[in-house]
Symmetry: C2
Subunit: 365 residues, 2 copies
């Protein structure tokens, strides 16, 4: 088991990574939470697999356990769903000292994180991510949100958990497409960090792509550790430091929305965004073209999509320009000067932005 | 004009207090906000009086100004209203750098504060309180929330503004009942701080009660300064220090809810809560009875209600015990050992709690 520690201005907490650590959930939580009640919140895919292990671990630590199970999928991330869960907590008499355990993938972490952040102005929260994407990204760093109209994560806040338990054993039951999607976020960290992490990903790619056994605790910890270090420096995305984590996401989000959240998973959209970003990096930041090719090759070997063919480029450009991180002067990109050398706050000429979007939404290179 | 400065972990900002300072809103905001757009959010009572002065001050500082006007009253503090305002901001293309100005009383500060805190995970916010209650309490300290079912402020977060502009000139147009209600919160500060502030309130009481001209900039600043100092120590109500501000509010909230938010204003309910708290303080904390009488006398002279006659005591007790600040071991009270000497985290025996509720909801002393 790997134990990371996040030291943020608003809260410090442990991040446990390892096969079987879900069994340690209750005991680890009992160390930091006083409340009598725990509600395990999850979705219909995860519930049959991990609701019972999580619940018994909590019961063994003297929590009174109940649960909330919602349908799976991004379309659950609505204000209506948040309000419904408020109603459940209200009926069950939850206090601030009681704990909400978000058990599942990114949707579960985001949606129930927002519930915990705002119910009674903030109750105890534990994140128990069960997808690769959530273990290296969504469950870390305190961003919680739901979607609003066409805006992904358009309504939310920053709220740190009291504990993160990332059981890498759960990845064995992840559908292959979900594992590939998580791999896209892992590639993001490889591009940002370069060095040993990028080399490890290229080695996995050489072996033919990422399978559950390729995801070592050390690999997940390396990604989680990168993210935690960034978030420790800029918890609320105010200094610009945290912006590096958006590598590939500005265009990726727009593609995800343009695809109606159904054509691409979040990770697939991020992979497309990373490809577009590598192209922009070569054009704008002087990234060596061979390094961009190395990034693209890993994405190829991991079976991630190459193009968002037939999405309307004009709509994608419009969505990019309405990104929630856009300021007065338009969208600022995170690009790479080289592998391991991100730069933030980069302006891209509108024509180039449009050209890259046409490229990623086109059939041809 | 008085200029206070709040230095909080999450943000530092100025609090301007004085007659006519609404004219300075735009210029002061331009110093701390980059955005192009400002939306002035207010209610139907305040709009005819102060929407235009606020808007022209903002236009003069080069903001593109629009507005949102809602009906007045606590019943507006709903999740539905929050979602509706999200829709308006979405349609108008607001970014995080744009600013929401909450112009009005406590309802406006709470509701629109929550909108600003969660839209795009937080956009710029200015509080421009126009009631005495909001100027000394609701607009300060970053608590933003809406009501949920029977739970007052049951859903919300902590979010500090970029600027607070408290124009004491607006108190001249406040209905007398609203001024009295604000006076209840001022009395709370008098009880907490004792000394010169309590003496000043007793002098105003001697003159026959609080009129707009009795509310000096210095008086508002003294209350605001007390609150800011407390919040600086405990922004998110975690160390217990901030709990002193709940003096009278645990019972007050329950009475407000039991009265359906219509029988008592928030301030009237707080006044009743303060009376009950003074009684508990004498019984539990050894507060000298003559000091409790001094507190009650000021509330009498300010024309605040003496009893919540005919409210069902059992319901009020139930509501108290479901208070959102209740922990595993039940409700903890803020009481006084003496004027100017609050103590927090006090347990009260259930029988005494019930007796005091019967007293405050009864006709007789």
């Amino acid at each position: 088991m790997q134990r990371l520690h996040a030291r943020l201005p608003s809260r410090s907490y442990d991040v446990l990574v390892g096969r079987g650590v879900l069994e340690a959930l209750g005991a680890a939580l009992r160390d930091v939470v006083d409340g009598a009640q725990a509600v395990v919140c999850t979705d219909e895919n995860v519930a049959p697999l991990y609701l019972e292990p999580a619940s018994s671990s909590l019961r063994a630590a003297d929590f009174e356990v109940s649960h909330v199970v919602i349908p799976a999928g991004e379309r659950q991330k609505t204000l209506e769903r948040v309000e419904e869960v408020f109603g459940v907590l209200y009926e069950r008499g939850f206090t601030r000292d009681d704990v909400l355990v978000a058990l599942g993938g990114g949707v579960v972490n985001d949606l129930f994180g927002l519930v915990a952040a705002t119910y009674l102005r903030g109750m105890r929260l534990a994140q128990a991510p069960t997808t690769l994407l959530a273990q290296v990204d969504a469950a870390l760093g305190g961003k919680v949100a739901v979607d609003f109209r066409a805006g992904k994560n358009h309504v939310g806040t920053f709220y740190q958990p009291w504990l993160v338990v990332a059981d890498t054993g759960t990845l064995a039951t992840l559908p292959p497409r979900e594992l590939r999607s998580g791999a896209a976020e892992v590639v993001k960290y490889g591009l940002l960090a370069g060095g040993a992490l990028m080399a490890e990903l290229e080695a996995i790619a050489e072996r033919g792509g990422m399978r559950p056994d390729d995801v070592s605790d050390v690999l997940v910890s390396a990604c989680a550790g990168y993210k935690i270090a960034v978030v420790e420096d800029d918890e609320r995305e105010e200094t610009g430091r945290r912006a590096v984590l958006n590598l590939g996401h500005t265009i990726g989000h727009a593609l995800e929305v343009a695809g109606g959240y159904s054509r691409f998973t979040h990770g697939e959209a991020v992979a497309l965004g990373l490809r577009a970003t590598l192209r922009l990096s070569v054009a704008v930041c002087g990234m060596p073209p061979d390094e961009a090719v190395r990034g693209e090759s890993v994405l190829d070997r991991f079976g991630l999509p190459a193009r968002a063919a037939r999405l309307p480029a004009e709509q994608v450009v419009r969505l990019i320009r309405r990104d929630k991180k856009a300021g007065r002067d338009g969208v600022r990109y995170v690009l790479l000067e080289a592998l391991g050398a991100p730069v933030t706050g980069v302006s891209v000429a509108p024509e180039l932005e449009e050209e890259v979007v046409r490229w990623i939404t086109g059939g041809a290179a």
